[in-house]
């Protein structure tokens, strides 16, 4: 079982690595924060936006280099993944 092989298909995962690290960082404040929220807003359901089968609303936003992006510029030949996350800095 020692023959560890590292394949190359983890490309996306490797790219997303720093973001995930950031997402999982600073756990304690989050726990405290959400524990506090839980007291006042228990059972509040999360909102998940546009339903499967619907078309996304139009949007545009500058990227990290200040270039304005929209769905058309983001889309690749097979579509796209749009990831909404808390923040790159917290």
């Amino acid at each position: 079982m020692s023959n560890v092989i590292y394949a190359t298909e983890a490309h996306v995962e490797r790219q997303a690595g720093p973001l995930l690290t950031r997402l999982s960082a600073r756990l304690l404040p989050v726990l405290i924060f959400f524990s506090a929220c839980a007291v006042t807003s228990a059972q509040q359901a999360i909102k998940t936006g546009p339903e499967v089968g619907s078309t996304l609303p139009a949007f545009e936003a500058p990227d990290q280099n200040g270039r304005v992006q929209n769905l058309q510029t983001i889309l690749g030949p097979k579509g796209a993944l749009l990831v909404f996350y808390r923040s790159a800095d917290w």
Partner: protein, 257 residues
Amino acid sequence: MAAISYDSVAELKNFADRKHITYLLCSDSDSKIIRTFGILNETIPADSMAYGIPYPGTYLVDTNGKVVAKFFEDDLKERTPPMEILERVGGARGSTQATVEAKQLRLSSSASTNVVHPNQRVALFLDIDLMPKMHVYAQGVQGYIPIQWHMTETAARFYPVRYPAPEMLRLEVIKETVPVYRGHIRLGEDVVIGTEAQVKPRLNDHGEMVLEGSLHYQACDDRKCYIPETVPVKWTFKFEPLDLERVPAEIRHKPKP
């Protein structure tokens, strides 16, 4: 792929430079997109620094901008691993860890990442190729031993194993119809890595986190059933502590006055 947050361009630029990120990080600094999508986290007080953040989640869209699938979690810390999303929608697989030749089948273990961090959710996969004519029993079978994957690590928490839908096999000799697997099957199981304090004492001499478990099954062919087998399985990950580095204070988010 694009990742969208309420951060300013300056924060995203700093983060992308530091982490060598080349995919798109989009700045929705007034949370306009987040509101348009209807995913503003309304549990955050308006005077909080975090006001404007979304309920975190991922949309997979086709080339017409139609939503093909979406992934939102109740617990924001335990986000579905990107590789698992790709696996679910397109059969992508993670990095192969090991291949084991066992009796009546071949096992290949893989995972959504090679590096883990405290509290991270990781997808583990077991690809199983049964020898020709062999079958193993699926969950819910009566009177036979179903295939069962069990993990033992204490510094991690495991989600239930995802078993594929079985096929119903008619055994004429004994006049029974039983749920089985033949050919190739893939089992999946998510794991949430423990805290740094939990994981540190469990690391091996190379600073790696090793997750161990076993696969238990009884295989049969069209003539007979074989002795039940228990095959050890394991995954080895590089372990890295939490990333607590931040952007310079002057460009950080500030609570609205």
